[in-house]
Amino acid sequence: MSDPVLSCRSVRKVFGSRVVLDGLDLDVAEHEVVALIGASGSGKSTLLRCVNLLEPVDDGSVRLDGEDITAPRVNPDLVRRRIGIVFQSYNLFPHLTVLKNVTLAPVRVHRRARADAESSAMALLTRVGLGDYAGAYPDRLSGGQQQRVAIVRALVNAPRLLLLDEVTSALDPELVGEVLAMIRDLKRDGMTMVLATHEMGFAREVADRVCFLDAGRILEQGPPASVLDDPRNPRTRQFLGRLAL
């Protein structure tokens, strides 16, 4: 097997006296989709934010394609160009149109010509059915449309790794489907993804591997069928049992 795209070793993160990540290990192979499940506060979002260097780790290391991105002299801006992240609350820029939201990073960070950036942005937007909204401001879009724009905004930079942080949690059930369909397409295209989610059905369908996080550690991991249907760990069983109710 080739080297993992992402490799977390003994990652520790502390907020005040609260240990959020407690020596967590995780490898993600190329084209692999890993779903992180677990209760709120189990460290799913924090792990994603640490991988994207939005939060500095307090110990351990994170490697991207073998390069230690948590080393002292690494420029986080250069690392973030290679990792896309999508947030629960979309975080689109309200003062920019959909097209400008998507082309901001290609033009300013990747120094692509505006016309070139706009044509690839339009191609992606059209592909997810949002071509007609390119000139609209985010507040005119539904939550599901905004979230799809946010995914396009991350994708247009051709990231090596895509992090999805509970991207459907702020959406009502009718809008969840359109976002999940988009992620399904990304998997088909071979995008390497780590997604924190509460949608067990979706984790089962799209993930190659499910990791159950509890108190900042991965308690159990494996193919969706084994973790979700036949959990070994009592904590996993308890968590999944509550969801079934």
Partner: protein, 279 residues
């Protein structure tokens, strides 16, 4: 498709609301009329009204003073335009300087912080005296005219306030916006320039305009340095005629001049409130 017909209950509601509207308009008109009459009777019925009318509301005096007062007001207008642009630019620069990070910028940050402390605390009149009398006192070559020195004094003072308004705007932009921008690979500076500042400036437009209305009146203080603004022109006219009408004239003209700016401020505030509500 069938056309929608309004139900009877809804028709009743509409009729009731219409009646209520008519009633409130009538009540408002009546109470305004009563207040107006009371005011007019109280003022014109006062024992000294005839004297006051002659010395404050004399049309002939007003006509005579008008050209001088207008000339003075032209100075106010020019100063207002120059100082508004200057103070906003300087204020934004100072606010920006206060957000700079990294040890290299410590002196810039400290200077900017000291600036907002100093010039917000210092009375404007003292700054004006220092600039318009102190600087020429140095007898340097190429010292600008009193007009420009006065403008500079107003700019540095108002920039202190505007910098804080801008800073409040910068701080009001949610951290998740910064996180989103940084996650795309934008540097801190690019994030400020393309994501934070545009949102911040839009958000603080109403208070900025409000400070401009205040500036409109304060520019007249350059008359302390010998320039003749609208109010000083009125004062001179009053001193010549022993009649206070020129003051009233200048006051009315100031209000007329401020009205459009205040209307714009209200409109911008309303629009901002609506935008926020629609989110």
């Amino acid at each position: 498709m069938t056309t929608y017909t309004v139900s009877e209950v809804q028709q009743e509601r509409i009729a009731f609301r219409r009646k209520q509207t008519v009633r409130s308009v009538l009540v408002a008109a009546a109470s305004t009329a009563v207040l107006g009459i009371v005011l007019v009777v109280a003022v014109t019925g006062a024992p000294g009204w005839d004297r006051v009318k002659d010395s404050f509301f004399d049309l002939a005096t007003a006509r005579e003073a008008l050209p001088a007062v207008l000339r003075g007001l032209w100075l106010n207008v020019r100063l207002l335009v120059i100082c508004t642009i200057g103070a906003m630019a300087l204020g934004l620069a100072v606010a920006w300087a206060r957000t700079l990070r990294g040890p290299v910028f410590f002196p810039v940050r400290a200077l900017a912080t000291g600036y907002t402390y100093g010039f917000r605390g210092m009375p404007l009149i003292i700054v004006l005296y220092l600039f318009t009398f102190g600087i020429p006192g140095l007898r340097l070559q190429g010292t600008p005219s009193v007009f420009w020195l006065g403008a500079a004094a107003l700019i540095v003072t108002y920039a202190g306030y505007l910098a804080e308004v801008f800073r409040a705007g910068i701080e009001s932009v949610h951290p998740s916006q910064v996180a989103a921008a940084r996650s795309l690979g934008l540097t801190y500076r690019q994030t400020m320039r393309h994501v934070v500042l545009p949102q911040a400036v839009r958000r603080v437009a109403p208070p900025l305009l409000n400070d401009t209305v205040a500036l409109q009146k304060d520019v007249g203080l350059v008359s302390l340095a010998g320039l003749v603004d609208g109010v000083r022109a009125a004062q001179i006219a009053t001193a010549q005629t022993f009649n206070f009408t020129p003051y009233v004239l200048a006051g009315v003209l100031f209000v007329l001049m401020a009205a459009p700016l205040i209307a714009v401020t209200d409109w911008v505030t309303l629009r901002a409130a609506r935008r926020q509500g629609s989110r």
